[in-house]
Amino acid sequence: MSDPRVAGVGLTHFGKHPERTGRAMFAEAGLAALDDAGIDPDDVEALFYGNFMGELAEHQGHQAPLMAEAVGLDVPATRYESACASSGAAIRDAVFRLRNGEADVVLVGGSERMTNIGTAAATDALSIAADDLYEVRAGMTFPGAYALMARAYFEAYGGSKEDLAEIAVKNHEHALPNEYAQMQQAITVEDALDAPIIADPLGLYDSCPITDGATAAVLVSEDYAADHDLDTSVAITGTGQGGDKMALHDRQYFARTPATKDAADEAYDDAGIGPDAVDFLEVHDCFTIAEVLALEGLGLYEPGEAIGAAGRGETTHEGALPVNLSGGLKAKGHPVGATGVAQLISLTKLLEGRHPRAEAVEGASTALAHNAGGTVASATVHVLQEVVE
């Protein structure tokens, strides 16, 4: 089986850009990806597009054809919606399309406009990733859901707000040289602990910001890359997806994420590697506790062990297993439907040595992307590896 190549990547600045339309942002990201790939745009055969809250933020459904058009492409286009894992799900289907030989060149990406509706409406829009009848109507918010998981984690395994603050500090530090990041500012543990509480035990600095932005990547078949002599060195060698019950209260665990484990097991098996082969990764840290749950679900730490990883320096840019060198959702920002492809972009640039944090992973060859939807009722995992031709 051949492994699709990442031929080119592009993204907009992540941040507060309330005036920018989803279509304008995606046009910028898509055209940048095509330019980066250096391929003939006429060769693109399909668009796999992620978006979560377009109906609520822009009164715009049926976004995929609009986005293909925005990039100047006359191709079939489909929107993927798996909450925050929307473009992770889009990548997975794009990989299948290329692997099975039905296409040689596809565009995958996502776009999300969020800040134009304000914090209250965005909080409402994000909440609908939970069960409307049994969670949202009881006042569950997105931070509230992760707060329930954080408390359950603390009670099961120990850990403290200080441990979570260390994760925020790390991801803010990682984002410092990232010109695309929403938060290019260092914070301290004290800053995080002093910040207002959103949903106890989670405070403002435990939460990712509300972000506008778009991302895109050109994926091509191995044959197309060879035939066109493309300068691509990054292959997607593994893909996996997991699911869980929608409502937290219907889960067996509140402090573990089996959907992540299932996605990871499948992706590792697909790539023919184990967790120990992973050199660095981008995980879905919509909240600080989510990074902990992800690292444990991915099999990189035993349950109860990842809470102290950032504080111990293991997951920093100087550590043995750098996590979220882009700044993660926490500092880079989280334009929901664009996030899965944003992770792919960061990992590709890091593997290719053209990311401002590339020094941290010199000589590394295997990276992993973990994208999660809602309270991880959806999860996708992709393995990216540098290929030596």
Binding site: V136, G139, T141, A199, P201, L202, H249, D250
Partner: protein, 128 residues
């Protein structure tokens, strides 16, 4: 509220809880779930029956929400909790107690209340 169509299953459960006759859905293999169900989310069994909800449950995890959605603007701060009733767990708001005094393991009963902001029905828990 009266002009809105009812939500099949959900509104039936809230009516029943308000009447002190809460129930859950049980499958042939003993798995509990909340309505509406045509099949068991655990095992797919289509042999379902309604069983009485235990009178009280224990707080499994909770949070004090200070930044709410607009629907709960005037309700905040409030306590959202998952309460374990044995065969099923249910999400709702813990009321009738200072938020700071809520703890995991606390025994609570279930009722139906109304939100302050929009007078909308919601599941509430009160310490026993």
């Amino acid at each position: 509220m009266s002009d809105e169509p009812r939500d099949d299953g959900f509104d039936d459960l809230l009516d029943a809880i308000a009447d002190g006759e809460g129930f859950y859905v049980e499958c042939a293999n003993g798995h509990g779930s909340l309505p509406p169900r045509l099949s068991c989310p655990q095992c797919g069994s289509q042999e379902l029956s309604e069983e009485p909800l235990p009178d009280s449950g224990e707080v499994a995890t909770y949070t004090i929400v200070t930044v709410p959605t607009p629907q709960f603007d005037e309700d905040a701060p409030y306590v959202t909790a998952v309460v374990d009733f044995g065969p099923v767990s249910i999400t709702g708001q813990v009321q009738g107690v200072d938020p700071e005094d809520v703890e995991t393991g606390q025994v609570v009963g279930i009722d139906v209340g109304e939100s302050v902001t929009r007078d909308e029905r919601l599941i509430v828990f009160e310490p026993r």
